[in-house]
């Protein structure tokens, strides 16, 4: 980060200037495109740029490379991009709206709700693999509705939402454990959900969640200015004419749709939603109109990188992507905490 700032100072771009922000976004888009190319081309069999182009143009559909690109690499790459941006934006929204640096999708019950419904479908409809994706999504949304409904009874303050999220997660966790105890066969499904990952992803599974993620991303950008006003505090925001309960509820639902959609096909992938928004704010400041797109790009790049490493580090064996994320993200976050001067990272 220091290097980036030094470079910007040298070319006369001050932080928070328009030129700086455009440069950051342009740089991230370039990195994302490189990441997408590497994700498609690197793996157990290496694929050239020419092969990728001909696969996209639907040429030579009978070749091995075409099948690998179309049915394995592209779905996996799209999955990593979608999950990374969805979880990062979900975390960015929650940290801003709840004014809580430690907020991430699991705070509002997304993970526990999705996990319960995933286990329930594994227990009672084990043959229908698509149903578990939809059920996990519905579970995530229902859990957030429950959290907000309880919080509303006490005024829907930030603290009420966080506390009711903890209580609902704990309660849903107990139901999940009961199902696991009564139906031990679902332990395997539970383990797969908790580890998460992108192997075996198909375009069918992605298309359902992808549409929700894209719509929620656009809606998040539309609401980003209102989220800035909300950050002034409830009384100031209300005095400026902001309907605070409507914005808070809409933001929570958007965060739930983003995280629930990602979890529904990728399982529990932690860490992106927590650290990426912090890094984004470290680079572009606290304006949500920038934090949201920068988090989306950084989340996608980080997830692509982790998935790539998960595939190639111990090939032909694959490590769960969540483990790589923690290995890379943990020390990097500690580095930021230590290097970040007071106020820049955690205020």
């Amino acid at each position: 980060m220091n290097l980036l700032q030094k470079f910007c100072t040298r070319i006369n771009l001050t932080k928070s200037s328009k030129g700086y922000n455009v440069s950051v976004i342009a740089l991230l888009i370039i990195l994302l495109l490189i990441g997408i190319f590497l994700s498609i081309s690197i793996g157990s069999s290496k694929i050239s740029l020419a092969d990728i182009v001909s696969a996209i143009r639907l040429k030579d559909q009978g070749s091995n490379n075409y099948r690998i690109i179309s049915f394995v690499r592209i779905p996996r790459t799209i999955a990593a991009v979608l999950v990374g941006c969805a979880l990062a934006v979900s975390g960015a929204i929650l940290q801003s709206v709840l004014n809580n640096s430690l907020a991430s999708p699991n705070v509002i019950g997304v993970n526990s709700g999705a996990g319960l419904f995933f286990i329930l479908t594994a227990a009672f409809f084990p043959v229908n693999i698509y149903l578990s994706t939809i059920a996990a999504f519905i579970g995530a949304i229902l859990a957030v509705f429950l959290v907000y409904f309880i919080a509303r009874k006490t005024g829907a303050s930030r603290m009420a939402i966080v506390l009711s999220g903890v209580a609902v997660s704990s309660f849903i966790g107990a139901i999940t454990d009961t199902v696991l105890t009564l139906k031990p066969d679902t332990m395997i499904a539970r383990a797969a959900f908790l580890i998460g990952g992108f192997s075996g992803i198909t375009m069918d599974k992605l298309s359902f969640a992808g549409v929700f993620i894209l719509i929620a991303l656009i809606a998040s950008l539309v609401l980003s200015y209102d989220m800035n006003v909300l950050a002034l505090g409830d009384e100031s925001a209300k005095s400026l004419g902001l309907n605070i309960s409507r914005i808070r509820f809409s933001s929570l639902i958007l965060a739930a749709i983003l995280a629930g959609s990602a979890i529904s096909f990728a399982g529990h992938i932690g860490f992106v939603g927590l650290i990426v928004p912090h890094v984004a704010r470290f680079i572009v400041g606290h304006d949500n109109r920038l934090v949201i797109p920068v988090s989306a790009l950084m989340g996608s790049i980080f997830t692509l990188l982790c998935d790539l490493l998960a595939r190639v580090l111990f090939a032909p064996y694959e490590i769960p992507v969540g483990i790589i994320m923690s290995f890379l993200g943990g020390p990097f976050f500690i580095y930021l905490l230590v290097k970040g001067r007071r106020g820049q990272l955690y205020d």
């Binding site: 009384e235 004419g241 606290h286 205020d347």
Partner: protein, 254 residues
């Protein structure tokens, strides 16, 4: 003009203020004073629609406050709370938030909005701080930035909850001078003040509260002469004429 009729209000079904009947005239400064817990801030929050009253009616410009949309009301009434979270934001962007009630769906400020924000920044002598983060500013400077935001909001009625609390004497007087300038611009200022001397010196009207009700609402001179301040606060007082002909008030315990 803002008018409160038979207002009762409070928190968690507990009544804090009751039977409040008061109206604040345009272009005046009114200070609400009273002992801790007498309902000053509750009155301010209720009058500015931040707190829904249990009963009674509030009207702004002869129209019930409930008939205004959130943004319509924000163009008429602004409120500066005493305790605020200090967001990580530049001075310019914070002042620009004052234009929120006027922004369209895209939330993009127009040229007119930018001109109003520039004028508000200039009015508060903040031009050299525009790109500074407000977390880097002193309490007094920060208060001026928030007042600039209220100026940009361009509402006729401004509620200030203890605007001088936690400030040194120089900044206290500077903020009160700014309040006077706001009045000269035609704004109606209603503020809670703890400093009785400043309240009496800078206000056109004083609303003295006791146990959730208005004990007296009159000019500073009228309130002072009524002896209610001495009675309610259990203090002694003295009125002093200063060189420029204005009157100052001193309060003490015997």
């Amino acid at each position: 003009m803002i008018k409160l009729e038979d207002i009762s209000s409070g928190y968690n079904k507990i009544t804090i203020i009751k039977d409040i009947n008061i109206s604040f005239n345009q272009g005046t400064i009114t200070s609400i004073i009273g002992k801790n817990g007498c309902g000053k801030t509750t009155l301010l929050r209720t009058a500015s629609n931040l707190l829904k009253p249990f009963s009674g009616k509030i009207s702004v410009a002869d129209k019930p406050i409930t008939d205004y949309s959130d943004k319509e009301l924000a163009r008429k009434v602004s409120f500066l709370p005493q305790l605020r979270s200090v967001p990580n934001i530049t001075v310019y962007n914070l002042v620009m938030h004052g234009r929120y009630p006027y922004l369209g769906f895209s939330r993009t400020p127009q040229k007119h909005d930018k001109e109003i924000v520039d004028r508000a920044i200039e009015e508060m002598n903040l031009a050299s701080y525009v790109n500074k983060n407000i977390q880097e500013l002193s309490g007094g400077q920060r208060q001026k930035v928030y007042i600039a935001m209220v100026l940009a909001q361009n509402s006729d009625i401004i509620f200030l909850d203890e605007p001088t609390t936690y400030l040194d004497i120089n900044h206290q007087l500077e903020i009160l001078q700014i309040v006077k300038r706001l009045k000269q611009m035609g704004k109606t200022i209603i503020m809670v003040l703890h400093d009785l001397s400043n309240a009496l010196s800078y206000s056109d009207n004083i609303c003295l509260m006791e146990k959730g009700q208005i004990a007296i609402y009159d000019s500073p001179e009228g309130v002072y002469k009524s002896g209610k301040i001495e009675e309610i606060f259990n203090v002694c007082s003295q009125q002093l004429a200063v060189a420029d002909g204005t009157k100052q008030y001193v309060f003490y315990i015997e």
